[in-house]
């Protein structure tokens, strides 16, 4: 059986403000999950907490990855164990090329399995980059550009997918990858995710809109409201949401709350 990301009763505060209030979710390798919800429902808090952003404080619950509680781990260790997050707002690192950055990231992974590792040889790395860029139909000059520095919105998101392709995570979280993309860019990025998807990759697509789900087909859909997953189901749930909006869920929530 493959690795799984298991969120158990997760409570998170940001600047002493409770945001997540008991989230439960399991994503396994080979599965695609979509997490939907209105703005401010806690979706990005969940992704950032999974990845270990220091500003998010876990007050209760667990995050288990591949059978190990990762809550005390730094983001780099979580990453080296096979977690990946495609950022909603990728950060620019001027002066550092995409290739140089990825080679270092890859070498950090290799050192985890073998502390004596001398790093991937340059020719092998070059070959790998070309292979991945071709797979994602990206221009090779991309590798020589400074990471996210002066990239368009679409280029930034494609750079995220390229990183994912090179680092080969077991579980990837797409944090509102569709935000700010026009329809062409959205298609390209979605195709990238679909290309990489397989039995060894589990994906959690976090999104505000249904439209990315026209390209990335989830088997599971979850809806988050006010820091909790309030509804889970199959792909039909997303369609239902598109037709009905979130109001019926709010009503349902209020109804059950009484």
């Amino acid at each position: 059986m493959g690795a799984a990301l298991e969120i158990r009763n997760l409570h998170v505060t940001v600047e002493d403000q409770p945001i997540l209030k008991g989230v439960n979710l399991i994503v396994r390798q080979g599965e695609i999950h979509a997490l939907m919800g209105p703005n401010g429902s806690g979706k990005s808090t969940l992704s950032n907490t999974i990845m270990g952003h220091p500003a998010y404080e876990v007050t209760a619950g667990q995050i288990i990855f591949d059978g190990v509680d990762i809550l005390e781990m730094e983001p780099d260790e979580r990453s080296r164990r096979g977690l990946f997050m495609a950022f909603q707002y990728p950060v620019a690192i001027p002066g550092v090329t995409v290739a140089n950055f990825l080679r270092n990231a890859l070498n950090a992974r290799r050192r985890m399995t073998n502390p004596e590792d001398k790093g991937i040889p340059i020719p092998a790395f070059r070959k790998l980059m070309i292979e991945k860029m071709d797979m994602l139909r990206m221009d090779h000059e991309f590798a020589g550009r400074y990471l996210n520095d002066g990239f368009s919105g679409g280029e930034k998101k494609r750079a995220e997918i390229l990183q994912m392709a090179v680092l080969e995570p077991q579980i990837a979280i797409m944090d509102e990858t569709d935000s700010g993309l026009d329809i062409d860019a959205l298609r390209v990025v979605s195709e990238g995710v679909t290309t990489l998807y397989g039995p060894n990759l589990g994906v959690l697509v976090i999104t505000h809109y249904q439209r990315i789900l026209n390209y990335i087909k989830p088997q599971f859909v979850h809806i988050m409201m006010d820091g909790q997953i309030v509804e889970s189901g199959g792909p039909e749930l997303a369609l239902h949401l598109e037709e009905q909006g979130y109001d019926w869920l709010r009503e349902k929530q209020n109804g059950s709350g009484k």
Partner: protein
């Protein structure tokens, strides 16, 4: 691994690579302190002509008459009475590594100097405490008339050329430490590149301190004749001691018509060294000079390489990197003086500080009335790695001609949590992530270095970064 344990590991790594020391094996050591007798002793041991001895003694008076500068970092903690001003390492200077005393040779082996010389240098010099112990240049260059000697040999064998230029670019009265150097100079390089000769590989000199409480006063003179090209590189390290040492060099460069020269420094002194250096280049018509000045080590550095653009078409560049860590002050920058029309210049300064270190850009751009249509750009960027470090900018700009084009930009940024989180989320450790941001910040300058030096530079930054204590 705990912080303390990690720190221990880093100290060991530093000592292992640079901070180690050899047993004292000098052949002569003057008593501590400075007076006319010591100056006379130095001159006598070098067997100098009378005119040189006179200049030294005159410079000593100038040094003693000038106050310690107070406009920059605080130098009041330094006492010349505690310093050995002259420590002679070996009887003679060798032209083969086999003739260098064993202990000293081992040091330079460990620092990789003979290996670098074989691989990518046109010539190498090595100074140990007060004098050069080795100097050699490739035979084919010597055959073309290239002179690459220690400064003492330069004076002995090329006295006319030496005397024609010595002290003309940087006179003793220029500043207190130029006067000091003129009084007690010892070691450094003497370089002459004949007209039209282009040396594609760099010449390198490496400066090493070994004795505790020493003063090192390298004096280098470089003349690049018409249409010639030279890249000279200096590196320096020292053992870590609890007492202070002083390095106070003077570098005089003359770049003749149509010639080009570049002088690269990778300064990595241990953090008990005061580094007070004066460097100046006089640039003639259509010639250019570039200073690439990287200051990573030392306790206090005050260093403002300068370029005087004397004739039309002259060009000058200063690329300055300053990295101040714990207990370090880097007061660096540069000066460009436009004297003639149609001269151009560029100053790019990148300063970094962390763990309470302090780095400043101090620069002067001066355009004289005759320098019509001069063009200059000044860019200073600072990067702070934490909240308790400081960076200052003192850009002085004096323009006395209305047709001049000047651009000036300054930025200060701080490595943000978001940058760190982003890099760490890809598997890079915190130190590695920080080093990556820093290397990226410096990239516009390091890419100017030959590959061997940019690799060295990245490695030094990594080392400097790893020294951080949370």
């Amino acid at each position: 691994m705990g912080d303390a344990e990690q720190l221990q590991g880093i100290r060991e790594a530093y000592d292992e690579q640079y901070g180690f020391r050899d047993p004292d094996t000098y052949v002569f050591k003057a008593r501590k302190g400075l007076d006319a007798e010591i100056v006379g002793q130095i001159s006598e041991m070098k067997g100098e002509p009378e005119w040189m001895r006179t200049q030294r003694l005159k410079a000593l008076e100038i040094y003693q008459s000038k106050p310690v500068p107070t406009w920059g970092p605080d130098l009041s903690g330094f006492s010349e009475d505690d310093i050995y001003f002259f420590v002679k390492p070996a009887e003679k200077e060798a032209r083969s590594w086999d003739d260098v005393p064993e202990d000293i040779k081992r040091t330079f082996d460990r620092l990789g100097i003979p290996e670098a010389e074989q691989k990518f240098l046109a010539g190498a010099g090595a100074q140990y405490d007060s004098e050069m112990v080795y100097h050699q240049v490739r035979k084919e260059l010597e055959a073309q008339g290239v002179i690459f000697k220690s400064i003492e040999v330069g004076l002995r064998e090329h006295e006319d050329l030496f005397r024609q230029y010595f002290g003309t670019v940087i006179p003793a009265y220029d500043n207190k430490y130029a006067a000091l150097n003129t009084a007690v100079w010892s070691g450094g390089s003497f370089i002459y590149i004949p007209p039209g000769v282009r040396i594609e590989m760099p010449l390198q000199a490496y400066f090493r301190l070994n004795t505790a409480s020493i003063g090192q006063f390298e004096r280098t003179m470089i003349i690049v004749d018409e249409g010639a090209f030279l890249h000279y590189v200096e590196g320096c390290t020292a053992p870590t001691y609890s007492t202070d040492s002083l390095h106070s060099g003077v570098i005089e460069i003359v770049v003749k018509r149509g010639a080009r020269s570049r002088y690269t420094t990778i300064q990595n002194w241990s953090d008990n060294v005061y580094n007070l250096v004066t460097q100046r280049a006089l640039v003639h018509g259509d010639a250019s000079h570039e200073w690439v000045d990287a200051n990573l080590g030392s306790k206090i550095t005050m260093k403002y390489p300068s370029v005087y653009l004397l004739e039309p078409g002259a060009h000058g560049e200063i690329l300055s990197i300053a990295f101040a860590g714990r207990n370090q002050i880097q007061d660096a920058g540069g000066k460009v003086i436009h004297i003639a029309p149609n001269t151009t210049s560029q100053i790019i300064s990148k300063s970094i500080c962390k763990d309470g270190g302090r780095s400043s850009y101090r620069g002067l751009l001066k355009v004289y009335p005759d320098a019509a249509h001069a063009k200059s750009t000044v860019v200073c960027d600072a990067l702070l790695l934490d909240d308790h470090s400081e960076s200052d900018t003192y850009p002085y700009i004096e323009i006395e001609n209305p047709s001049v084009t000047v651009g000036h930009e300054a930025t200060v940024s701080k490595i943000g949590d978001d940058q760190l989180f982003y890099l760490m989320s890809r598997g890079l450790g915190e130190d590695e992530a920080n080093a990556m941001v820093v290397n990226g910040f410096l990239e516009p300058l390091t890419k100017e270095l030959p590959m061997e030096y940019s690799i060295e530079m990245n490695r030094l930054i990594q080392l400097q970064m790893a020294g951080s204590i949370g």
